[in-house]
């Protein structure tokens, strides 16, 4: 079933929308959740929560990019769950690694910058991503949105993990400079 047909089901408040979404995007969202949580049961629950939140957000939203829309919801839910699990000493170390890498781009100070709206900052990051080459875009989004392990990214890109890490490091440096140019105090 096409995305617009699935969305139409949501608009009609037809519950088969969830089954169709699961059929089309269940594995995709599960993979995103697994990258964050590294636990099948937690990931399953996360995906279920994604369908629930999607059901509640459509028809208010009418996403033009349904796949990406679901990915964002899944990531958001998975990160929330990861934070609560981390507090309980569980959760994937993969997120910690990605977070630490991003820590190189910022000072970590808890100043006024932390009050920046995530959406405003996200818009800037979007601009930054679109200035990257296609390969760099893949690397950045796979690593820091999908939180795919570096080893997996390297295999997909047919590069060595070391080379992949080097390119990611350069991208982070460029992100830091870009954010500074945009007026953020990083």
């Amino acid at each position: 079933m096409q995305d617009n047909e699935i969305i139409e089901l949501y608009w009609q408040r037809n519950e088969s929308a969830i089954a169709e979404t699961d059929r089309s995007y269940g594995k995709y969202c599960h993979r995103i959740a697994m990258n964050v949580l590294d636990n099948t049961e937690d990931a399953d629950e996360c995906v279920s929560d994604t369908w629930f939140r999607t059901w509640n957000s459509i028809p208010e939203d009418r996403p033009a990019h349904f796949r990406g829309y679901l990915a964002k919801i899944t990531r958001h839910i998975a990160i929330d769950r990861w934070r609560s699990l981390t507090a309980a000493k569980r959760g994937s170390g993969n997120v910690t690694l990605a977070l630490d890498e991003l820590g190189e781009c910022v000072s970590g100070s808890d100043s006024v910058e932390s009050e920046y709206a995530a959406k405003e900052l996200a818009a800037s990051i979007d601009i930054f991503i679109n200035r990257l080459s296609e390969k760099e875009q893949h690397l950045f989004v796979w690593r820091y949105f999908y939180m795919e392990p570096v080893q997996n990214i390297a295999e997909r890109m047919q590069m060595s993990p070391n080379h992949t890490a080097v390119i990611l490091s350069r991208i982070r440096n460029r992100l830091k400079r870009f954010l500074q140019e945009e007026g953020y105090e990083v």
Partner: protein
């Protein structure tokens, strides 16, 4: 700003961006298979054309006028040799990858490397899937090109060095204009080539004019070659190197070299341990800059020591598809050098031994 702010914001990027970089999209292995299949089909078609027509199919043997080319005599000799070889077995010749700036030694910019499949891996397949990647080959015309004879050199700040870049006046401005990548550092006039991490080439934009420039040297009496590898070519470890093509230099037509060259074929170093050894040796070298011919001895004055037997040219093919142009090695003095007189430190006895075991295996 805290890293968590950044992390959360990345979760809010546009859905379109996420979709464009879908983690579950077709793997590069598939792309590679498709591309390999394409080449196989192309090779088969070429073979049929040659067999059916009985004519000589000349593949990529047209030569360009290159600023860094050898003398006209040796150029002609090399072109003849390539054409003769092509007439014999060009059905086996398949273009593999961008081989820009490999014209200094025995391989010209438009010649193709032997079709042993080595270069088909990752690199070119990877590039094919990247819309914004511009292969350096795309900048140059095939065939004889008249260019200004006056060499133009500009300096660019690269880290703690001032780098000299040489204008490639044979590059096509329309292509350059469409290939402007990211701004180089804070410089308003210098840009990377679109899709390139490394800065072997930069684009200069000034007064509405677009020109392509190639790295030459750092302006310093001596500097570690490791800095060039890292800062210019982006090579920080041996595993970024896919293969190294090793081949004899263009023969001196006046001596017995031509015959020797025929005996020594091009081959590739692909063994991981060999690549690591080569990278380690290169990383230990010091470059003394350009026009330092007085520092080197490649035995050209010793007629009893045919240069080709003691010399090899090396082109480095990187896994991301880029090519690091030609270095020459002479066993006479145990040194790497470049055609325009750039000299590198003499290798230690141990490094010399390592390099020569790799480079000078002459197929008897």
């Amino acid at each position: 700003m805290k890293k968590e702010d950044l992390f959360d914001a990345i979760g809010e990027i546009r859905s379109e961006t996420i979709e464009k970089n879908d983690i579950t999209a077709g793997s590069r292995k598939n792309i590679r298979v498709v591309r390999m299949t394409t080449w196989l089909v192309a090779a088969a078609v070429l073979a049929l054309i040659v067999l059916a027509g009985g004519s000589t199919y000349r593949l990529g043997v047209q030569r360009k006028s290159l600023q860094r080319a050898e003398s006209p005599a040796t150029e002609m000799a090399a072109a003849e040799a390539v054409e003769e070889e092509c007439e014999e077995d060009c059905a086996e010749e398949v273009p593999l990858m961008d081989n820009h700036d490999t014209a200094v030694c025995g391989v010209t910019e438009d010649e193709t490397y032997p079709a042993d499949g080595i270069m088909e891996s990752g690199a070119s397949a990877e590039k094919e899937s990247q819309e914004k990647y511009v292969s350096i080959n795309e900048f140059f015309l095939v065939g004889d090109v008249s260019v200004e004879e006056v060499q133009r050199i500009e300096t660019v700040k690269v880290g703690r060095y001032t780098a000299q870049y040489e204008c490639r006046q044979d590059a096509i401005e329309e292509v350059i204009k469409d290939s402007v990548g990211q701004k180089w550092e804070d410089d308003e006039e210098w840009y990377r080539v679109s899709g390139h991490d490394e800065i072997q080439y930069l684009i200069h934009v000034s007064g509405g004019k677009y020109t392509l420039w190639r790295f030459m040297y750092f302006l310093s009496e001596e500097y570690p070659f490791k800095d060039v590898l890292e800062m210019i070519y982006g090579i920080e470890s041996a595993d970024q190197i896919e293969a190294v093509a090793v081949y004899p230099p263009v023969p001196d037509n006046t001596g017995g070299d031509k015959g020797l060259q025929g005996e020594i074929s091009m081959r590739y170093i692909t063994d991981t341990a060999d690549l690591q050894n080569l990278f380690d040796v290169l990383s230990r070298m010091t470059c003394y800059g350009r026009h330092r011919g007085e520092l080197m001895d490649n035995g050209v004055d010793d007629l009893s020591s045919p240069a080709t037997k003691a010399e090899r040219c090396l082109d480095f093919f990187l896994k991301d598809g880029d090519v690091m142009g030609t270095l020459k090695y002479t066993a006479v003095s145990g040194m790497f050098y470049e055609n325009d007189g750039a000299a590198y430190s003499r290798l230690s006895a141990q490094d010399k031994d390592i390099i020569e075991k790799m480079l000078l295996e002459i197929e008897e």
